[in-house]
Symmetry: C2
Subunit: 213 residues, 2 copies
């Protein structure tokens, strides 16, 4: 295929290149310091073309947030395999989360650091993605609690609070793992799995969570 080389790339491909360059630049330099010149250069296109496709630095940044948020939410959803026992689902979901944030450190920096540190409308974009992940985790914990068949089920509000705690812990750990040389995604996932599933008491007494074969 493709014997004739064309200088004209499909718009979608060019746009993806620009977005890749933008995520990298915003993630590493921050929203303010990043310049459209640098983004265009990194993408190998002219600056007017970036403006033509993505309109403005603000719209480009918003598009980056949306793309990275969608990719992260999809990775977590795809990772947590329904049908598994609750602890295995959680383990799979955490692995997916930390693997994605480790493989896309610039995307994670855009979402977690940049999008939240430059006011609106960016903060709302990332809040919407966060709400979606919290809702997903809430469903997971709620299902696990029902599965456990206790006479006294966990009240909805407790489940909601636990989901907030788990998501907050995951966010903090992802930033720490990316900033700390040598901490792998698996290690970060294992730390959080142990923390959230087995609790500190068990950890201190040498009883970590263990995946059943």
């Amino acid at each position: 295929m493709g014997v004739v080389k064309s200088k004209r790339m499909p718009r979608a491909v060019r746009e993806r290149q620009m977005m890749d360059a933008a995520v990298r630049t915003f993630g590493q330099l921050g929203y303010r310091a990043a310049s459209m010149d640098e983004i265009a250069e990194l993408a190998g296109v002219s600056k007017p073309l970036v403006y033509l496709y993505l309109n403005s630095k603000e719209e480009l940044f918003t598009a980056c947030i949306r793309r990275e948020a969608k990719a992260l939410a999809e990775a977590v959803r795809a990772g947590a395999q329904p049908g598994l026992p609750a602890d295995r689902q959680l383990w799979a979901g955490l692995n997916a989360f930390f693997t994605h944030t480790a493989e896309n450190p610039d995307g994670w920096a855009v979402l977690h650091r940049q999008a939240r540190t430059h006011g609106e409308p960016f903060a709302s974009e990332v809040a919407a993605m966060r709400d979606e992940i919290v809702a997903f985790v809430t469903g997971l914990i709620g299902a696990a609690a029902r599965e456990a068949h206790r006479d006294r089920a966990l009240p909805d509000r407790d489940v909601a609070g636990l989901a907030q705690a788990l998501v907050g812990a995951a966010e903090a750990l992802a930033g720490w793992a990316n900033d700390t040389p040598g901490v792998s995604a698996k290690e970060a996932a294992a730390t959080l799995m142990n923390f959230s599933w087995a609790g500190l008491e068990n950890l201190m007494n040498g009883r970590p969570w263990q995946a059943q074969a």
Copy 2:
């Protein structure tokens, strides 16, 4: 004392009034939307006096972050009573944290939402306070782990990761508790204590953490 009423208040008192008004305004309206006019009016002083004392909106906001960060860190330190068993120290520290954030919702909004959403130099101010709290929690977990006298102590890196997870969970829960009508500080502290100490498995099986008398 004070039979002669004076219109001249000590500078420290006036400054505190301005800062109180500023924290409330920044916390409720956000850094951008808050105006120096509103802050002056709420403090019951003239706008030039606010500028005379605090220089600029940026310096006023920085002073608010510092004051609120210091107050929160001190509340947590004072709450966690050294000498208690590890779980009781953690429980006391969490109670102090959630009580403080519930009683100072505007201060917490300044630290957690505003300071992190308006770039530098504000983000660094709040990061320094966060690092201090993480270091304190790391010390707490490390001491608890040594106390547990296990042959295989928790590696330092695990302790550091657990501290990150715990602080991230606490931040997320404090925001949720303040935004959710009817969630008390004690309830938020209990949710996090159960989550962090007993773990999800125990919670789902109806084995929450219980304070020993």
